[in-house]
Protein backbone atom coordinates (compact mmCIF):
# COMPACT_ATOMS: atom_id res chain seq x y z
CA UNK A 1 0.00 0.00 0.00
CA UNK A 2 1.15 3.50 -0.74
CA UNK A 3 0.37 6.05 1.92
CA UNK A 4 1.04 9.75 2.31
CA UNK A 5 1.36 11.41 5.70
CA UNK A 6 0.76 15.15 5.51
CA UNK A 7 3.10 17.34 7.54
CA UNK A 8 1.62 20.62 8.67
CA UNK A 9 3.68 23.14 10.60
CA UNK A 10 3.13 21.91 14.15
CA UNK A 11 2.22 18.32 13.30
CA UNK A 12 3.98 16.14 15.83
CA UNK A 13 2.69 12.61 15.35
CA UNK A 14 3.71 12.54 11.69
CA UNK A 15 6.77 10.41 12.33
CA UNK A 16 4.99 8.09 14.77
CA UNK A 17 2.23 7.49 12.24
CA UNK A 18 4.70 6.84 9.44
CA UNK A 19 6.53 4.33 11.64
CA UNK A 20 3.31 2.46 12.43
CA UNK A 21 2.33 2.41 8.76
CA UNK A 22 5.75 1.17 7.68
CA UNK A 23 5.76 -1.52 10.34
CA UNK A 24 2.47 -2.71 8.89
CA UNK A 25 4.13 -2.88 5.48
CA UNK A 26 3.05 0.36 3.86
CA UNK A 27 5.19 2.44 1.55
CA UNK A 28 5.04 5.90 3.14
CA UNK A 29 5.75 9.34 1.69
CA UNK A 30 5.74 12.47 3.81
CA UNK A 31 3.92 15.34 2.09
CA UNK A 32 4.46 19.00 2.91
CA UNK A 33 1.42 21.18 3.57
CA UNK A 34 2.49 23.81 1.06
CA UNK A 35 2.62 21.36 -1.84
CA UNK A 36 -0.18 21.63 -4.31
CA UNK A 37 -0.05 18.01 -5.46
CA UNK A 38 -0.39 14.69 -3.76
CA UNK A 39 1.64 11.74 -4.96
CA UNK A 40 -0.37 8.78 -6.26
CA UNK A 41 -1.32 7.01 -3.05
CA UNK A 42 -4.04 4.77 -1.70
CA UNK A 43 -4.27 6.44 1.66
CA UNK A 44 -3.72 9.97 2.95
CA UNK A 45 -3.19 10.38 6.69
CA UNK A 46 -3.55 13.66 8.52
CA UNK A 47 -1.55 13.04 11.68
CA UNK A 48 -1.88 14.25 15.23
CA UNK A 49 -0.17 17.25 16.73
CA UNK A 50 -0.78 20.95 16.96
CA UNK A 51 -0.93 22.21 13.39
CA UNK A 52 -0.46 25.97 13.58
CA UNK A 53 -0.30 25.64 17.33
CA UNK A 54 -4.03 24.85 17.46
CA UNK A 55 -4.36 28.61 17.38
CA UNK A 56 -7.72 30.17 16.49
CA UNK A 57 -9.43 26.74 16.40
CA UNK A 58 -7.77 23.34 16.28
CA UNK A 59 -7.33 22.34 12.67
CA UNK A 60 -8.70 25.61 11.25
CA UNK A 61 -5.55 26.95 9.64
CA UNK A 62 -4.39 23.53 8.48
CA UNK A 63 -7.73 23.04 6.74
CA UNK A 64 -7.01 25.96 4.42
CA UNK A 65 -3.47 25.01 3.45
CA UNK A 66 -2.61 24.30 -0.17
CA UNK A 67 -2.34 20.52 0.22
CA UNK A 68 -5.95 20.30 1.34
CA UNK A 69 -7.31 20.87 -2.16
CA UNK A 70 -5.80 17.65 -3.52
CA UNK A 71 -6.68 15.89 -0.27
CA UNK A 72 -10.32 16.86 -0.76
CA UNK A 73 -10.15 15.69 -4.39
CA UNK A 74 -8.60 12.42 -3.25
CA UNK A 75 -11.48 11.97 -0.81
CA UNK A 76 -14.11 12.93 -3.38
CA UNK A 77 -12.67 10.36 -5.73
CA UNK A 78 -13.54 7.76 -3.10
CA UNK A 79 -9.99 7.10 -1.99
CA UNK A 80 -9.00 6.74 1.65
CA UNK A 81 -8.34 9.56 4.08
CA UNK A 82 -7.64 9.02 7.77
CA UNK A 83 -7.37 11.77 10.37
CA UNK A 84 -5.99 11.02 13.80
CA UNK A 85 -6.51 13.47 16.65
CA UNK A 86 -5.46 16.82 15.21
CA UNK A 87 -6.01 15.24 11.79
CA UNK A 88 -9.62 14.55 12.77
CA UNK A 89 -9.99 18.18 13.75
CA UNK A 90 -8.62 19.21 10.36
CA UNK A 91 -11.10 16.94 8.59
CA UNK A 92 -14.05 18.50 10.39
CA UNK A 93 -12.76 22.00 9.68
CA UNK A 94 -12.33 21.02 6.03
CA UNK A 95 -15.93 19.72 6.10
CA UNK A 96 -14.87 16.28 4.98
CA UNK A 97 -16.43 15.00 8.17
CA UNK A 98 -19.45 16.20 10.09
CA UNK A 99 -19.38 17.69 13.54
CA UNK A 100 -16.75 19.68 15.31
CA UNK A 101 -14.32 19.40 18.17
CA UNK A 102 -14.79 21.54 21.27
CA UNK A 103 -12.44 21.86 24.24
CA UNK A 104 -12.58 18.90 26.61
CA UNK A 105 -15.30 19.25 29.21
CA UNK A 106 -12.61 19.55 31.90
CA UNK A 107 -10.87 22.26 29.85
CA UNK A 108 -7.67 20.32 30.48
CA UNK A 109 -5.37 18.39 28.24
CA UNK A 110 -5.96 14.68 28.81
CA UNK A 111 -3.41 11.98 28.11
CA UNK A 112 -4.68 8.57 29.17
CA UNK A 113 -5.80 5.22 27.85
CA UNK A 114 -9.42 4.87 26.85
CA UNK A 115 -11.46 1.87 25.82
CA UNK A 116 -13.17 2.02 22.48
CA UNK A 117 -16.04 -0.02 21.20
CA UNK A 118 -15.67 -0.78 17.51
CA UNK A 119 -19.00 0.01 15.87
CA UNK A 120 -18.11 -0.87 12.29
CA UNK A 121 -15.83 -3.59 11.01
CA UNK A 122 -16.74 -3.21 7.35
CA UNK A 123 -14.63 -0.13 6.70
CA UNK A 124 -11.16 -0.28 5.21
CA UNK A 125 -9.94 1.26 8.46
CA UNK A 126 -11.58 -1.21 10.81
CA UNK A 127 -11.51 -4.50 8.95
CA UNK A 128 -8.82 -5.70 11.34
CA UNK A 129 -11.33 -5.50 14.19
CA UNK A 130 -14.60 -7.22 14.95
CA UNK A 131 -17.79 -5.27 15.43
CA UNK A 132 -18.45 -4.84 19.13
CA UNK A 133 -14.82 -5.49 20.03
CA UNK A 134 -13.33 -3.39 22.80
CA UNK A 135 -9.84 -2.00 22.26
CA UNK A 136 -7.55 0.07 24.48
CA UNK A 137 -5.98 3.11 22.82
CA UNK A 138 -4.40 6.25 24.29
CA UNK A 139 -6.05 9.62 24.01
CA UNK A 140 -4.06 12.85 24.10
CA UNK A 141 -5.84 16.09 23.38
CA UNK A 142 -7.16 19.37 24.66
CA UNK A 143 -9.93 19.89 22.14
CA UNK A 144 -11.39 16.42 21.87
CA UNK A 145 -15.02 16.89 22.74
CA UNK A 146 -16.91 15.76 19.68
CA UNK A 147 -20.02 17.80 19.08
CA UNK A 148 -22.69 17.84 16.42
CA UNK A 149 -26.14 19.34 16.45
CA UNK A 150 -29.06 17.00 16.96
CA UNK A 151 -30.06 16.77 13.34
CA UNK A 152 -26.54 15.94 12.19
CA UNK A 153 -26.10 13.56 15.05
CA UNK A 154 -29.26 11.68 14.22
CA UNK A 155 -28.17 11.35 10.64
CA UNK A 156 -24.71 10.07 11.66
CA UNK A 157 -26.22 7.55 14.02
CA UNK A 158 -28.89 6.57 11.53
CA UNK A 159 -26.43 6.00 8.74
CA UNK A 160 -24.03 4.12 10.97
CA UNK A 161 -21.27 6.68 10.62
CA UNK A 162 -20.10 6.38 14.19
CA UNK A 163 -17.05 4.13 14.00
CA UNK A 164 -15.62 4.21 17.52
CA UNK A 165 -17.28 4.99 20.83
CA UNK A 166 -15.74 5.50 24.25
CA UNK A 167 -16.69 2.48 26.33
CA UNK A 168 -16.49 1.30 29.92
CA UNK A 169 -13.35 -0.51 30.92
CA UNK A 170 -10.78 -0.51 33.64
CA UNK A 171 -9.53 3.05 33.91
CA UNK A 172 -9.26 6.08 36.13
CA UNK A 173 -11.92 8.68 35.66
CA UNK A 174 -14.84 8.78 33.28
CA UNK A 175 -14.88 6.39 30.31
CA UNK A 176 -15.58 9.35 28.01
CA UNK A 177 -13.05 11.77 29.38
CA UNK A 178 -13.65 14.68 27.05
CA UNK A 179 -17.43 14.74 27.20
CA UNK A 180 -18.05 13.83 23.56
CA UNK A 181 -21.67 13.63 22.55
CA UNK A 182 -22.99 10.04 22.36
CA UNK A 183 -19.52 8.88 23.47
CA UNK A 184 -18.29 9.42 19.93
CA UNK A 185 -14.54 8.87 19.46
CA UNK A 186 -14.48 8.43 15.69
CA UNK A 187 -16.75 8.96 12.70
CA UNK A 188 -16.65 8.40 8.95
CA UNK A 189 -18.30 10.07 6.00
CA UNK A 190 -21.34 8.59 4.32
CA UNK A 191 -19.26 6.73 1.76
CA UNK A 192 -16.97 5.30 4.43
CA UNK A 193 -13.70 6.32 2.77
CA UNK A 194 -12.90 9.19 5.14
CA UNK A 195 -12.51 8.54 8.83
CA UNK A 196 -11.43 10.61 11.80
CA UNK A 197 -10.68 9.44 15.32
CA UNK A 198 -9.40 11.22 18.43
CA UNK A 199 -7.41 8.40 20.08
CA UNK A 200 -3.97 7.46 18.78
CA UNK A 201 -3.71 3.95 17.30
CA UNK A 202 -0.08 4.60 16.32
CA UNK A 203 0.81 4.75 20.02
CA UNK A 204 -0.24 1.17 20.60
CA UNK A 205 1.24 -0.39 17.51
CA UNK A 206 4.27 -2.23 18.87
CA UNK A 207 4.85 -4.40 21.91
CA UNK A 208 7.05 -1.81 23.63
CA UNK A 209 4.10 0.56 23.73
CA UNK A 210 2.49 -1.56 26.41
CA UNK A 211 -0.37 -2.45 24.08
CA UNK A 212 -0.90 -3.35 20.43
CA UNK A 213 -4.59 -2.68 19.94
CA UNK A 214 -3.89 0.00 17.36
CA UNK A 215 -1.88 -2.22 15.08
CA UNK A 216 -4.85 -3.89 13.37
CA UNK A 217 -5.96 -0.56 11.97
CA UNK A 218 -2.74 -0.25 9.99
CA UNK A 219 -2.31 -3.90 9.06
CA UNK A 220 -5.98 -4.05 8.03
CA UNK A 221 -5.44 -1.23 5.55
CA UNK A 222 -2.26 -2.73 4.18
CA UNK A 223 -3.83 -6.18 3.76
CA UNK A 224 -6.82 -4.70 1.98
CA UNK A 225 -4.61 -2.94 -0.54
CA UNK A 226 -2.48 -6.01 -1.01
CA UNK A 227 -5.54 -8.12 -1.79
CA UNK A 228 -6.90 -5.45 -4.12
CA UNK A 229 -3.64 -5.28 -6.05
Amino acid sequence: MKAAVVVFPGSNCDRDTAVALRQAGADVTMVWHADSDLPQVDLVVLPGGFAYGDYLRSGAMAAVTRIMRPVVEHAEAGRLVLGICNGFQVLTEARLLDGTMLPNASLKFICRDVHLKVERDDLPFTRGYAKGQSIRVPLANHDGQYFAETETLNRLEGEGQVVFRYAEGESFGPHNPNGSVNDIAGVCNAAGNVMGMMPHPERVADARHGGTDGKALFTGLVDLMASAA
Binding site: L56, R57, A60, M61, V64, E93, R95, T100, L102, P103, N104, A105, L107, Q145, F147, E149, G179, V181
Partner: protein, 80 residues
Amino acid sequence: MKARVHISLKNGVLDPQGKAIANALDSLGFGGVNDVRQGKLIELELDATDSESARKQVAEMCERLLANTVIENYAIEIDG
Protein backbone atom coordinates in the same frame (compact mmCIF):
# COMPACT_ATOMS: atom_id res chain seq x y z
CA MET B 1 -8.41 51.15 9.26
CA LYS B 2 -9.35 48.92 12.18
CA ALA B 3 -11.80 46.06 12.11
CA ARG B 4 -13.16 44.13 15.04
CA VAL B 5 -14.73 40.73 14.64
CA HIS B 6 -16.87 39.23 17.36
CA ILE B 7 -17.18 35.51 17.07
CA SER B 8 -19.68 33.72 19.23
CA LEU B 9 -21.02 30.21 19.40
CA LYS B 10 -24.41 29.65 17.83
CA ASN B 11 -27.35 28.96 20.06
CA GLY B 12 -27.56 25.33 20.91
CA VAL B 13 -23.84 24.74 20.55
CA LEU B 14 -22.29 23.52 23.75
CA ASP B 15 -19.90 26.01 25.37
CA PRO B 16 -17.60 24.21 27.80
CA GLN B 17 -15.63 27.36 28.51
CA GLY B 18 -18.69 29.44 29.24
CA LYS B 19 -20.01 26.75 31.50
CA ALA B 20 -16.74 26.53 33.41
CA ILE B 21 -16.70 30.28 33.89
CA ALA B 22 -20.27 30.24 35.18
CA ASN B 23 -19.37 27.55 37.70
CA ALA B 24 -16.25 29.37 38.80
CA LEU B 25 -18.13 32.65 39.24
CA ASP B 26 -20.68 30.84 41.30
CA SER B 27 -18.12 29.28 43.58
CA LEU B 28 -16.45 32.67 43.98
CA GLY B 29 -19.74 33.86 45.40
CA PHE B 30 -20.97 35.96 42.48
CA GLY B 31 -24.72 35.43 42.53
CA GLY B 32 -27.28 36.16 39.87
CA VAL B 33 -25.28 35.02 36.86
CA ASN B 34 -27.68 33.14 34.66
CA ASP B 35 -25.63 32.36 31.64
CA VAL B 36 -22.10 32.84 30.37
CA ARG B 37 -20.91 32.38 26.81
CA GLN B 38 -17.34 32.73 25.69
CA GLY B 39 -16.47 33.91 22.23
CA LYS B 40 -13.57 35.50 20.45
CA LEU B 41 -12.64 39.02 19.63
CA ILE B 42 -10.33 39.45 16.68
CA GLU B 43 -8.90 42.87 15.95
CA LEU B 44 -7.39 43.58 12.58
CA GLU B 45 -5.32 46.48 11.27
CA LEU B 46 -6.10 46.87 7.59
CA ASP B 47 -4.62 48.87 4.74
CA ALA B 48 -8.08 49.31 3.26
CA THR B 49 -9.26 52.90 3.24
CA ASP B 50 -12.99 52.69 2.71
CA SER B 51 -15.14 50.93 5.21
CA GLU B 52 -17.35 49.19 2.68
CA SER B 53 -14.55 47.32 1.02
CA ALA B 54 -12.97 46.65 4.41
CA ARG B 55 -16.20 45.09 5.63
CA LYS B 56 -16.45 42.94 2.53
CA GLN B 57 -12.88 41.77 2.89
CA VAL B 58 -13.31 40.93 6.56
CA ALA B 59 -16.54 39.07 5.89
CA GLU B 60 -14.69 36.90 3.44
CA MET B 61 -11.93 36.29 6.01
CA CYS B 62 -14.59 35.17 8.46
CA GLU B 63 -16.17 32.80 5.98
CA ARG B 64 -12.89 31.29 4.94
CA LEU B 65 -10.97 31.16 8.19
CA LEU B 66 -11.85 33.25 11.20
CA ALA B 67 -15.17 31.64 12.03
CA ASN B 68 -16.38 28.08 11.73
CA THR B 69 -19.81 28.90 10.40
CA VAL B 70 -21.11 25.47 11.28
CA ILE B 71 -21.05 26.41 14.94
CA GLU B 72 -20.17 30.09 15.10
CA ASN B 73 -21.70 33.45 14.23
CA TYR B 74 -19.66 36.50 13.54
CA ALA B 75 -20.27 40.22 13.65
CA ILE B 76 -18.01 42.82 12.09
CA GLU B 77 -17.35 46.37 13.26
CA ILE B 78 -15.30 48.76 11.19
CA ASP B 79 -13.68 51.71 12.95
CA GLY B 80 -13.14 55.03 11.35
